[in-house]
Amino acid sequence: MGMTVAEKILARASGRPATRAGDVVEPAVDLAMSHENAALVMNQFRAIFEGTGLEAKPWDPTKIAVIFDHRVPAESPKTATNQKRIREFVVLQGIERFHDVRGDTGGICHQVLPEYGYVRPGQVVVGTDSHTTSHGALGAFAFGIGATEMASVWALGYALNIEVPATIQVVVEGDFPSHVGPKDLILHLIGRLTAQGANFRCIEFHGGTIRRMSTSGRLTLCNMTVEAGATAGIVPADDETLRYLREEAGVEEPTALVTPDADATYVETIHIDVGKLEPQIACPHTVDNVKPVGAVAGQRVDQIVIGSCTNGRLDDLAVAADILRGKKVAPRTRMLVFPASARIYAQALDKGYVADLVRAGAVVMNAGCGPCLGVHEGALGDGEVALSTTNRNFKGRMGNPTADVYLCSPAVAAASAVTGVITDPRIGPRTGGN
């Protein structure tokens, strides 16, 4: 009997010849990532060592990464003090994969990890962030855990009591129509699966559309698999993964690819043809409340948000700049743009995208999590409506429980910025048109 990618990776990491869905394993961790919540992980880590007489040292500091992104630069003395404590800790413990608040090497953890070549195909990656599923885009088995569980990983070097998930196979064929892309595909899939349809499962992506998709698009897909409840999302690594690692992440050593066996067992197979896919919108207040853009076109928007670990990469900013170049953001709408990393920010400067967006009236913010989770900046007023390329629209998500958040692609967000209402980019302001 063959194995899925998740079963193969977890077998290798737990020193077994094979694993099956439902097995409980303790996989060795290749990469353990935290952001500002490392402050809590540190406390729990010390609590584990308390009374043992052992020195509180992590199992392997070279496999730990800490990236500041949720509140950068710090919005309060409390956050600033947490960040200060973490800085002291990474120095003390010799953690070199540390990305501070910087305009050259900073950014969102889920962008920095791939960009710097920390994530490799076949790895087990854990992160104290639910969107750690992103890293499945490079063929890793990557999942979110809580802070206490991370403290346990720091101490032991492996994750405890991990159930090998059953895998849902998603086979995607066809070419995306103009102004439709990976974000529309993943919103469509979440709408079909529902918010809990993939709970305790892995989603493995296949098909010609996926093979032709860039790593950036794959990151968008895997990022949001957790919104269907998935433990992990995986695109089996291929030539595009190797290209990304070599050309964009500067990885020179040879990389082994982990692919599923032809006779692997899947709990379910879903076929999607994107040839006729329309732009998709997740409506308030759940991510699985997905409709084609036409169903909500004309809805007034107070704030447009483009960025995040879901859609803050160079190709996303290019889509927005192409639509907004030479145009203006609607008078009673504000537009916030936050690139996923400092490197992407610099590339967008070089390409002229930042100038296009700023001249159109957008506020381009520093790389980081920005307004996505309502902790830092870009909060909504009472009863306001946001249209955002981020990944969650839960009640209160952007800092105000009386506000509405709609989720969409960069093309829909940019077209709607010009009109001030939710707009189908195939009809409204678009590249070279109007």
Partner: protein, 168 residues
Amino acid sequence: MPRVVTVLGDDISTDVIYPGRYMATVLPSETPQFAFADHAELNAKLKGKQIPPGSVLVGGQNFGCGSSREQATSTLKGHELVIVASSFARIFLQNSINLGLRIVTAPGIEAAVGDELELEADAVVNRTSGKRYPIVPLPAARQAIIDAGGLIAFTKRRLVAERGGAAG
């Protein structure tokens, strides 16, 4: 017998349980004040100690979906609530076990505020409506963490077995 203090629907996210704007607060002793901060009435009752420890919060399917923030668990643990729901999201379930928040998976659970629930070993019995809801047991590997008194104690024991030192 524990009473139901609130009944929530499906897909209750960690943003609802513990809004993101309070995430700079990490100490488990400081998180309880922000439980359901955007539900003013429930938050006020919890903060005002009007809800006795052991009271039950009833949820629908996929309780605790969304962010991995552990504050969503420590904030409920701080009030010693018991969560009975049809199903739980993975990370929230794991966090609850790790921190010792009592969660019970009882598919189809139906209850109203004020109902008395009896939590038996294999079922939740709603004494007010007379209905019985079988419990889905936790996997044995997870039960071991609960039996050890939470993940800190469990890992401490493992660490000492591997590296030597005192049993703490």
